[in-house]
């Protein structure tokens, strides 16, 4: 259990933001934490869509249940949070 900073690049937003999560958080939890700072602030919610997390630099989409500490991310590394069908 340790804090882990990430840079959230949320789909539809205009800026990347600092989002601090626990390194045991799953990607679903990371996406939700990122959504707090974008959805209903500058990004309209999209009911029926799932939020997925991908590594910004490569586009690699992470499994939803993958924990941050197992994703091979550097502290403050940028992730994209995107609306997806699955």
């Amino acid at each position: 259990m340790a804090i882990f900073p990430l840079s959230s690049n949320f789909e539809g937003d205009f800026v990347i933001q600092l989002v601090v999560v626990d390194d045991a958080a799953t990607m679903d939890e990371v996406a939700a934490a990122c959504a707090v700072h974008s959805v209903n602030r500058r990004v309209a919610p999209r009911p029926g869509k799932v939020l997925r997390v991908r590594r910004h630099s490569t586009g690699e989409v992470f499994p939803r249940d993958l924990q941050v500490k197992s994703a091979g991310l550097m502290p403050t590394e940028t992730i994209d949070v995107i609306f997806s069908d699955i």
């Binding site: 840079s7 539809g12 937003d13 205009f14 209903n40 910004h56 403050t76």
Partner: protein, 498 residues
């Protein structure tokens, strides 16, 4: 006693030079300070500036300029223009003075570097006047806002800003330190006087002067046009220095200096001048859009000047042109959303008429940045101001120290140009920002941007209150929406009509 006409003696005195006998040339002109780059003294002596002035002419002319600007101010003081000015215009002035006044004084140091350490006597001569110019600019841009300090503590920031860790002040100081405070005399001539002053400051001063006159702020209009007349003279030092570098085989080095500083200047203008011209200036007083001003002053004139000198357009020119439609919109939204962290009251610029104007000047704006503003507007109309204020920090570029922004909404394209260097992860807002870093990593690698400082624990407590404390932003200084969200009511009606 008969006086010689200046034309009879000028060329002699402006090139006064000597061969030192008691110290070595290298002691008198250390390379780190003078930046002669192996070019011999005789070559430097060919420095020839287009606009020449004697000291006595300088004093007489400057005296007249000051008399003009100060008397306009005195005459208009009782009209109390500021009391009835649009709050967006007031914010324009507060942002301008805070960002510029003390930086002008710092530029006097840069001019002094040339005055003392340039190997070209003509450069040393002109830089002496340049130094006096910048002292004038510092003094006058501290004096003019001073009468307003009784109105609000935000006017204090004309002096205070550059003495704080407020994020926009940090961005400005990083840029100015890089461009002029920490450079040799030759680099100052090219980076400050050519790349920055010849290129960009015309925009802030003359473009803004046009809007100021439109807005009826004649005190400010006359002030900044007066300042710019000095600029046109001392900015000309870069050209002759460039000519000597190019003639002596240093074109690539000169080109790189210009490429770095031009982009850095662009980023600073995207956050200061962009919002001012496209969002804060009341709609009816906007002479041109930010992009139109840039096209006229930068793309038109600067391009020609580069070509005349035998230089190339910066390698990233196409990207620069593309970003005129994008960057400043993101910077504006960022400044507005994070408004508690700035010393002025950002005007949203989001009335229906203003949104129509933005759509006209930047086709597609409503389906990109407009989508974010739709959510913001709706939140305000639902009484959810809390959702229009930040609960985290933006990712900040490790070069320009500004938020990493891009196009939003339907055209979403925000990109972080990351770099791992010596085991540390850096973030950059553009490929060019990253390229600047890579040109001289040792120079930049140790700097900590605001997010780095936050994560390292330097900012305490680790919340908004702690950030405001760190930035020296007190109650009465913290930015709020310039118009108290009056524009949000109309927005909803306009959407319903559509």
């Amino acid at each position: 006693m008969s006086k010689l006409a200046s034309s009879e003696y000028y060329d002699l005195v402006r090139t006064t030079n000597w061969t030192p006998r008691y110290v070595a040339e290298s002691e008198l002109f250390p390379e780190a300070m003078s930046g002669a780059r192996g070019i011999p003294a005789e070559a430097w002596e060919t420095f020839d500036e287009p606009y020449k002035v004697t000291y006595s002419d300088y004093v007489a002319t400057q005296r007249e300029k000051d008399a003009g600007a100060y008397s306009v101010k005195a005459a208009l003081e009782r009209a109390n223009y500021i009391d009835s000015a649009d709050p967006g215009w007031v914010s324009t002035l507060q942002a301008h003075y805070g960002a510029l006044a003390v930086a002008e004084y710092a530029a006097a140091t840069a001019e002094a570097r040339m005055a003392r350490f340039s190997r070209a006597p003509g450069n040393r001569n002109m830089a002496t006047f340049g130094m006096l110019d910048e002292m004038r600019h510092g003094q006058i841009q501290l004096f003019f806002p001073h009468e307003h300090t009784k109105r609000s503590r935000q006017w204090d920031w004309a002096h205070k800003a550059m003495h704080t860790n407020e994020w926009a002040a940090l961005a400005a100081r990083h840029m100015f330190d890089d461009m002029m405070f920490t450079r040799d005399a030759v680099s100052v001539a090219i980076m400050l006087t050519f790349a920055f002053e010849t290129g960009f400051t015309n925009m802030q001063f003359l473009g803004l002067a046009a809007d100021a006159a439109e807005a009826g702020d004649h005190t400010f209009a006359s002030l900044i046009s007066s300042i710019q007349t000095d600029e046109s003279r001392h900015a000309q030092q870069g050209g002759p220095v460039l000519k000597i570098l190019i003639e002596n085989g240093k074109k690539d080095e000169a080109q790189k200096m210009i490429d770095v500083i031009f982009w850095r200047a662009w980023k600073l203008f995207s956050v200061l001048t962009g919002p001012i011209l496209d969002y804060y200036t009341p709609l009816e007083h906007r002479k041109q859009s930010f992009k139109e001003f840039m096209e006229e002053w930068i793309i038109g004139q600067f391009e020609r000047q580069l070509k005349d000198l035998g230089l190339d357009l910066p390698w990233y020119w196409d990207e620069f042109i593309r970003s005129l439609d994008e960057t400043h919109h993101g910077m504006h939204m960022g400044v507005w959303y994070w408004r508690p962290t700035v010393w002025w009251n950002p005007a949203a610029g989001m009335s229906p008429e203003e949104r129509d104007w933005l759509e006209e000047k930047y086709p597609g704006w409503n389906s990109t940045f407009g989508r974010c503003w739709d959510v913001i507007t709706e939140n305000l109309q639902k009484g959810r101001e809390d959702l229009t204020l930040p609960e985290t920090l933006p990712t900040i570029c490790n070069m320009c120290n500004l938020p990493v922004v891009g196009t939003a909404g339907d055209g979403w394209n925000v990109k972080d140009y990351q770099l791992v260097h010596n085991g540390r992860l850096y973030h950059f807002g553009s490929e060019v920002d990253r390229w600047c870093f890579q040109q001289d990593p040792e120079r930049y690698q140790g700097h900590m941007n605001v997010v780095d400082r936050f994560l390292s624990g330097e900012i305490q407590p680790q919340n908004l209150a702690g950030a405001l404390l760190y930035m020296s932003l007190n109650p009465g200084e913290i930015g709020v929406d310039a118009h108290n969200y009056a524009w949000a009511g109309l927005g909803k009606q306009n959407q319903a009509a559509e």
